[in-house]
Subunit: 309 residues, 2 copies
Amino acid sequence: MKACAEDKLLHALLRFVPISKNQPLGPGDDCAAIKCGKPGTLILLKTDCIAEDIHFLRSHDPAKVGWKALCRPLSDIAAMGGSPAEALITFFSPPDIDPSYWKKFYRGLGRAARQFGVTIAGGEMSRQKSGIAVSVMLTGHIDAKHLLTRSGGEPGDLLFVTGQLGGSIAGHHLNFTPRLKEGQWLAKNIHPSAMMDISDGLGSDLPRLARASGCGFEVHRESIPRRKGADVHGALSDGEDYELLVSIPPKKASLLQKKWNAAFPETRLTQIGALTPPQPAPPDWPGGWDHFKEPPKTNRRRQRKGSQS
Amino acid sequence: MKACAEDKLLHALLRFVPISKNQPLGPGDDCAAIKCGKPGTLILLKTDCIAEDIHFLRSHDPAKVGWKALCRPLSDIAAMGGSPAEALITFFSPPDIDPSYWKKFYRGLGRAARQFGVTIAGGEMSRQKSGIAVSVMLTGHIDAKHLLTRSGGEPGDLLFVTGQLGGSIAGHHLNFTPRLKEGQWLAKNIHPSAMMDISDGLGSDLPRLARASGCGFEVHRESIPRRKGADVHGALSDGEDYELLVSIPPKKASLLQKKWNAAFPETRLTQIGALTPPQPAPPDWPGGWDHFKEPPKTNRRRQRKGSQS
């Protein structure tokens, strides 16, 4: 299965740096998981970022942008089944942004921090010549026995997604609730074979989970739950869903659906397909969002300006 | 003593977010120090960043920029007396940068990681519309009894700096060696009353240490060790020195100088002044680098473009 350009670049870059031996997972999962002094507990580490005109616009409410900045890495902590702890905030501020922007941004980020039990441990600020950019580093923790990764799936495991996919740009991407409760509940009560969050679109993220698990996949596209206004292609490609993608051994599936409906009556959990033995993705499988996708040669100039299409 | 604009903005922003109760230091030191499961050990957390045209130029060797990106937060770990552990790298890449830039950057960053015992635990990449920016998050650890902060200085304590100050722009800022060995040695052998790294210039950073310690300061400006080509003003204001600023009770001073010269025969440690009871900074005390300094009204346009003067 072909890796996207972003994954290929990451793979190339990791050849130049020493990789943690203290990390049971290796690079490439939603979070890094590091052994700490306390037996049976792992520390989760995650960094995520947002950039103006890529993840948000100058015209968006800065408080919502602050909410999003923290909730994105929270979604990755959720994907491991973990609990968040400390955040460090780095922001790059262009000369045409007033400090009042950052006060509104921190107000929104602070609201998310209080809601999800995160405290702010540090940060850094810098000017940059143009455009707002923010990086958030987040720590978390998890009992080692509950840790969920991308790589434990087996052929035949059933694939589920929480919530609905696609059409996030209409508003969901600025006010979503990271699936922390759901992730922790799944880790403790079901222990799926693999789990990750869907941030670049199912089109990119499902192949990542399948590849990490050494599997292929098949998906019943019409069964993918879609957000209002989204078609099947959008549900695969739009990205910024911040939902969980879960693989479950078939024998656990009926128990999962029953228990889930009791625990989360307002949140859908939908079976969309299954993992298979290794096989290529369908020829018409669309990719999701890829920051380093090679532009098509016929329209190189427009694509190189960073448009999403 | 008046805080600089950057410190004031930070103070304003921290009102909007929950602050860690798990952190013995509170915000505002070189690193955050978090209790972990292992009694007597603290985890250090630091985030730092570099932005094009502020901390480096496009024309600089990307490998040196990668070296600098990791060595900056390493200097903060050094300032606590700590040992570094895991790094997470976030980079923002503009459309006119080729992936080969990042390979060279990671080569330089990897060289620093191997030299100083850091492993790479994760990262994130994003497009942005213009300009290269990088944020590095670093973990470290330290025996709680060796932790050095900015806030333990007392009136009468003598002030020392390692190495030489000023004129970093000629090259030091891209190839400096973070003072990890020196910081760890000081923490274990001398336990200074306060320590921090000098990154924004002694003109900004000494008032920060003095303020955190509830002290004033006096400095014999001619005694400040200067890098080649730097005058006294430059030694106070240029920034990017990545040296250590240390306060020591007078009774430890002669022991310090003797032991230091045996341990680090090639690195100067120079007494530059002393902490005093609280008092205003001298009226002609220059500030260092401040990302959010209010521009003078007569020349607003040039200053708002982020120039350093």
